[in-house]
Symmetry: C2
Subunit: 329 residues, 2 copies
């Protein structure tokens, strides 16, 4: 008998966008009628990541000097994607459906409250070490085409547990929304003979107005056309398509840039909720040498409402030049 998957991927027939139906948590319709705003687990005594029995299965681990763990990766207890032997594709009428095959891990740091924004560079680097280690370990697994690493901070950004944690999902599809960034980079490369991100970064550094921070190998900036107020991105200055190939030396500079970016947002904007996520080349075996990996940080000040959803145009109430000036100072 076929393994029952806790989730399924469905494709929108018009846009070819994928959505995931994750019934693993067995939501009955009537739970929606109650107050369904994200409930936040605030206290250490209720925190699942502070209880040893919940974090026994450590897939990756970086230790403090005293030998206790500082960063671990564990399987998600309610996985959106689950390991399996067979990618089952079906048709239902005109529609495409697929089992939610993949991996879903939670990457946790030991302290219940302290975030990357408050870490030392060495501590931030240990988190990046685990991101890379888990990426490298999952990228060659059967059926895996893309690995998404992200971090939700604060209730308004969808984090239900205060204890700082990132997540990694290794998945069997690349969505058209993601594809549009890859295709745009490829089209620019073909027509201009250079990387679109390199062109942007060169101009942003020359222009100076949107730069928040720079070190030898990374730049932190507010993009020219931001999706949210105070959107901040971290780019390697050199052309690098694949995050997972980052070197030890580069990780130190990336840890410095990421920590500075989050620290400025935390301090200047008084601990807003935010999401951050990597955009890196898919691991589907194709050649993405034209791509340029980066990390996006989206502070959560606005709600995407009817116009953003309907017309696809995000509204910002502050220019990125002003946002960068405010964060830079």
């Amino acid at each position: 008998m076929k393994k029952k998957f806790p989730s399924e991927l469905r494709m929108d027939l018009v846009s070819n966008d994928w959505v995931l139906i994750a019934t693993g948590r067995a939501h009955r319709p009537d739970v929606f009628v109650k107050d369904q705003r994200v409930k936040e687990i605030v206290s250490p005594k209720d925190c699942p990541f502070c209880k040893e029995e919940n974090i026994k299965e450590k897939i990756a681990r970086k230790n403090k000097k005293d030998g206790s763990w500082f960063v671990i990766s564990i399987p998600n207890k309610f996985p959106a994607f689950s390991e399996g032997d067979e990618l089952q594709e079906q048709r239902q009428g005109p529609n495409r459906i697929m089992n939610g095959l993949g991996y879903h891990e939670v990457i946790i740091t030991a302290d219940h409250e302290r975030e990357i924004a408050q870490f030392s560079i060495e501590e931030a680097k240990m988190v990046i070490d685990v991101y890379q280690e888990r990426y490298l370990s999952l990228m060659d697994k059967k059926f895996i085409k893309y690995i998404s690493i992200f971090h939700n901070h604060g209730k308004e950004a969808g984090a239900s547990i205060v204890h700082p944690h990132s997540q990694l999902m290794a998945i069997p599809v690349t969505d058209p929304d993601l594809r549009s960034g890859l295709d745009g980079a490829e089209a620019f490369y073909r027509s201009q003979g250079k990387c679109v991100y390199c062109a942007m970064i060169d101009w942003d550094i020359k222009d100076g107005q949107r730069i928040i921070y720079e070190n030898e190998k990374f730049v932190v900036l507010c993009p020219f056309a931001p999706q949210t107020s105070f959107e901040t991105r971290v780019y390697p200055k050199e052309h690098k398509p694949y995050f997972e190939k980052i070197t030890e030396k580069e990780k130190e500079f990336f840890a410095d840039a990421l920590q500075k970016a989050l620290n400025k947002i935390d301090k200047k904007l008084e601990d807003p909720a935010y999401n951050f996520y990597f955009h890196t080349a898919p691991c589907d075996g194709a050649n993405y040498d034209y791509y340029h990996w980066h990390l996006n940080i989206l502070p959560k000040f606005n709600i995407w409402a009817g116009f953003e959803l309907g017309a696809g145009i995000e509204i910002n109430t502050i220019k990125p030049e002003k946002a960068a000036e405010f964060l830079r100072k």
Copy 2:
């Protein structure tokens, strides 16, 4: 001297997505550090739409039987898009930028609390009358390529004023996010010789599981691949590309379908926040006979967090078949 616009459109160099920078409300960076969650104007005594001086400039008006107004359209006091004579396109480095030229109206109903969900069919039809009237009046204006009509209900869905109101924005661009739906419909039409929405609706009606409500001319359903839990759509059953061509008779059936859809969501899910918006053919002069207009209602139960933003895949915690069953009963 050139008119100073309160907003500008900027294009993302990689994805070609447009974003709007609306500095009309003159947000200084430091207003973000305070509590910036959407503040809700709840009381009629503070309500801008309950004060006659704010709603003097009535662009369109539908009256109650006693001659007092029931629905009006007025200019938005803080327009995201503003009227102008010249579409100014610039380059800034490698980037494209354009003035935020267009129209931004607010369509208000008289009662401070009663929503379309509680209206009679006749009352709901008056709202649709005003949508159509304003659409027809703005669609031929110079530079206007797309008209977005939408409605935000509840704080979590981005509504800052409780008093029920819809908005209309007539804008000079069609965004790639919107374009992907149009292009998908066109590609299906070319390859299959029929409308993709007609194919979906036929199958959904035959399958029955996702249908919430039907009348002679419209169907209300949960889509097979929903963007949010309990996403609900209203489709004309016949192939109709252009909302603005809706007839008097069809408006009665549409009013019935829309009111029923919102009423079921309101009652069964206990007044959740939601956004609704139209997707209809652009008014840019091209032929969109392959398209099929519809209305999307997105109840706001989930927050799109790091995975949705980073990988472009929305996660739902209830199957649309179960959602439809729950709303249908």
